[in-house]
């Protein structure tokens, strides 16, 4: 039910938002007839009330998490303010505006406020730019966290059961070598392939340290080796390039790569729903000669993630590694035989190779992970429960694959809390700026307020008019901020996701700006407008008509 309401509200808010933008353009260019001005302000109220409710449905889940995770109630209090103060005010305003539209209530002097915003454009622009900066930044930061959530949610398959050693908190610390673990493949509920073989992926996960031995010389653009300790480019070129001996400013001299040893690539690809973007899977032997000579060095065949191919590309002077390229990892050379179509999953940053070869390379002869494909989600849940509670040959830690990836959201939650706290502090700072603007606007227009009161406008109508002036400022600033922040959609960034201290995965994240990020940005600008506009508007209604005209 909530999903349906949420969908309706989301669609409605998007349409109303569009209508609102058109109405604002018409209002600002002075092209609207009188009835447009009547329509414009209800639109603002309705749009923002809708947006706030949609944001509420999204935020309530995070709010619960925040309550669990946050050591102080500050965040909670702010959310409470948004829900208890901002939303009722918006809805109240909406009601007033509708009543006004229906002619039940007398008009509020909105035209006057709109003209004032245009007349005092310099001061209002400064306030709006502050809004733009804060909301744009919020949008980018939320898009980053959203990207992390999307990555973890896309990486798991609901029918898969993820098995680690009992007590392991992460693949990296798991060791399934304590008993005859292969028996778990024979459990009822495990799906089978066309050859009636259990659909199980046996995996060895490890993190390898790869020294970065080459850099692209900024002078000659050639890939040249770097000195062991000097952290500078070796002498190169003939005659010597002026980039020889250049200091390396980037502090990193090695990177951590995730390597997954697997037994049967076809079965693993079926279990993880992973296809190749280019090339082939590695062969039965898992190695191939680097040249036609019999004595040539044997390279380990590797299938790598799409994101990783771009990460390793610059080492070879390319945008991305391609099939047939080689790279150094450990004491051996590795040859790329395939590229995974892995964008948007944690596998995007991984190297897949033959299990036995990976084990030899890194001194790990046992599996760390088993992923079992079951026939359906319910069977997967039953199987995971059984393995976790009943299976003791050896005891294992089994869970749905989706639950495992959800557990990696601990880092995301930390980032989300940090972002929300920082943005709330910034929002309060910006709200003080709005208050300044509005207090000055009221102080300068004391006589105007007196005239309005003498003309018959009531206190609440003056309050509504000044409050809406602040909200309009927030709407315009926030709207532009959201648009600018939305430009970050699709950008990539490297980050770590983990379920706790140690372990975790280094992943390539794609920033995602979706309707929830947009709504949170809109909600934030409304929050700043409400906080900054309400107190000055209240001070405006305390003015006595005759005194203000004196």
């Amino acid at each position: 039910m909530i999903e349906i309401i949420e969908l309706i509200l989301t669609v409605a808010s998007l349409f109303l938002g569009l209508a609102f933008v058109v109405a604002v353009i018409l209002a600002l260019t002075g092209r609207f007839e009188r009835w447009w001005s009547q329509l414009l302000y209800p639109m603002i109220g309705l749009h923002y009330a809708t947006v706030m409710w949609s944001a509420f449905f999204q935020l309530k889940l995070e709010a619960i998490d925040l309550l669990w995770a946050c050591p102080v109630f500050f965040v909670f209090l702010m959310l409470l303010y948004v829900l208890v103060v901002s939303v009722p005010i918006s809805i109240g305003l909406l009601g007033i505006l509708i009543l006004q539209l229906l002619g039940i209530l007398k008009r509020v002097p909105f035209q006057y406020n709109l003209r004032n915003l245009l007349v005092r454009w310099k001061t209002n622009s400064l306030t709006a730019v502050a809004f733009i900066l804060v909301v744009a930044l919020l949008t980018v930061m939320l898009a980053f966290v959203n990207g992390m959530y999307e990555l973890t949610s896309k990486s798991g398959i609901a029918e898969n059961v993820f098995v680690l050693a009992d007590g392991a908190t992460d693949e990296l610390f798991s060791n399934l070598g304590y008993g005859d673990i292969k028996e778990i493949a024979l459990q009822p509920g495990v799906a089978r392939d066309e050859n009636n073989e259990p659909l199980v992926s046996w995996e060895l996960y490890c993190v390898a340290s790869q020294p970065i031995l080459y850099r692209t010389c900024p002078k000659c653009k050639e890939v040249v080796p770097i000195a062991r300790f000097g952290r500078q480019l070796e002498q190169h070129g003939s005659p010597p390039c002026s980039g020889s001996g250049l200091k390396i400013t980037d502090s990193r001299d090695r990177r951590l790569l995730q390597v997954r040893g697997i037994e049967d690539p076809l079965k693993t690809s079926m279990v993880h729903n992973m296809q190749l973007k280019a090339g082939t899977w590695f062969s039965q032997a898992g190695v191939q000669s680097l040249s036609d000579s019999d004595s040539a060095e044997q390279a380990i065949q590797a299938v790598i993630g799409d994101g990783l191919s771009r990460e390793l590309g610059p080492d070879a002077g390319k945008r991305a590694l391609e099939v047939g390229d080689t790279f150094d990892l450990g004491p051996r050379k590795w040859m790329v035989v395939g590229i995974l179509n892995s964008s948007g999953t944690t596998y995007d940053s991984e190297i897949w190779a033959k299990f036995q070869l990976v084990g030899q390379q890194f001194g790990k002869p046992t599996y760390t992970t088993a992923v079992l494909r079951s026939t359906d989600v319910e069977t997967a849940r039953t199987l995971a429960d059984y393995l976790k509670k009943e299976y003791k040959k050896p005891a294992v830690m089994a869970q749905l694959e989706t639950a495992y990836f959800a557990s990696l959201n601990t880092t995301n939650q930390q980032f989300l809390i940090g972002i929300v706290v920082v943005m709330l502090i910034m929002a309060i700072g910006s709200a003080f700026g709005v208050m300044n603007t509005m207090f000055a606007a009221i102080a300068q227009r004391t006589k105007d307020i007196g005239v309005l009161r003498i003309l018959g406008y009531t206190r609440w109508q003056v309050l509504t008019s000044f409050f809406m002036e602040a909200l309009l400022l927030a709407v315009v600033g926030g709207g532009i901020g959201i648009l600018l922040g939305s430009l970050s959609h699709g950008l990539t960034a490297t980050s770590n996701i983990a379920s706790g201290p140690g372990g975790g995965k280094s992943v390539v994240i794609k920033l995602v700006v979706d309707q929830y990020v947009l709504m949170t940005g809109a909600g934030f600008s409304l929050f700043m407008g409400c906080v900054g506009g309400l107190i000055p508007a209240l001070s405006a209604i305390r003015l006595k008509p005759l005194e203000s005209l004196r």
């Binding site: 310099k122 900066l133 951590l256 990892l329 208050m435 140690g502």
Partner: protein, 473 residues
Amino acid sequence: MNELGNWLLEFTDNPLHVVCVALVVFVLGLIFVWFDLVAFYTKLIVQSFRRNIVRSTLTSLAIMVMVLVVTLVWSVLNLLDRVTSEKSKDFKAIITERWQIPSQMPYSYVSGLARGGARSETDLVPMDSMSWTFYGGTIDPVNRTRENIIFFFAMDPAKMITILRDEKGNPLRDTDGKILFSTMMDDLDQATEAELLDLDRACREMELDPSKVVLGYDKLESLKKKVGERISVTSLNNYKGVDLDVEIIGMFPRGRYDSSAIINVKYILNGLDAWKQKNGKPHPMAEKCLNLMWLKVPDTQAFRQIAEQVEESPEFKSPAVKVETASNGIANFLDGYKDFLWAMRWLLVPAILATMVLVIANAISISVRERRTEMAVLKVLGFSPSQIMILILGEAIFIGVVSGLLSSTIAYVAINARGGLKFPIAFFPTFLIPLEALSWGLIVGGMTSLLGSILPAWSARSVKVAEVFAKTT
């Protein structure tokens, strides 16, 4: 006196400090020479500040909250920059497994690595060393949660702290009366004397009885345990079958080690031996229980030589090891967060600073617009345009500097009193606000106010007396 000398030497090592001190001296000199003028302007500035208390307070509050965010962000970045910047002397090298993490080396490497791989008399030997073995366990194996999980650094307790003592057992002190001690751990020199003595007592007890442990404040809180209680720790996975029954006998000084726990490595090694006797074969971790080795080296030259000795030694080939400076090792580990940290440094902070400039520009321009008549009167009274401009700039800088300093001082006192800013990145659970944050508040507040008020001040400078009085009724 000696301490003051050392502090001065260290302080003047940084050219920025020297420039700041020179600026302060220069400003103080100007104040001394033109004291009457400065007093006159200060009086005017304070009067202007009090003229519209609401606006001044709102602007001040806006600056304070934004400086607070800048202080928090820079405190995180400051510590990470500090631990990842290379030192030229008395620094530490880290030795880990060459090709993978987590690093797992045989414990038999310890003695050879402690010698820095020295094989002949001409080879260099490190000044000191420390080995770390990581042990993860839980006090509630049935319902494992983040709160009841505990990670021990298993090590030689003497490497954590050893207070130097005379024949009678009294602590030796330097000329300033400070206790002399040796340690391989960072930041213990910031602990109080009582904390150092207590930690030293705990370490000596741990040496005598390996089943005694020391925990950090946060770990004790999350486990809901106190010093003096016993806990049973069941291994999470790797040390399966090697469980611990330990007594908590001490707590780390508050700060960096709040989430840490330390145990004598002998307890783990004894546990592995017992497992072998019981099962008739070595424990799978028996040959992998050295995770990390620290070496203290005198300078870069010595580091390079020791690194070559270790990496070329046939003793350490299976598995191969790598030697790097501690700062480089941490920098590589933080690499996963590089984009996030970049965004904090180059997106968040500039955006906050720009917002501050805008808020101040807005407030000052409103103030100037409202006080055009006052400016005109001042001009009539003989004030030059430059003097009016100084007045406006002074007012803005006054608000910025006071608010900035106040905000960073509150952050320093309040956050550090709560044990620091809790924002776990890699293995840094908390971040203390450094003392230099007070200067950040002052500089950020002052500079953003100056930038924000330049245009309004210029506009005040060009107020035309005739125009203003023509409109005045």
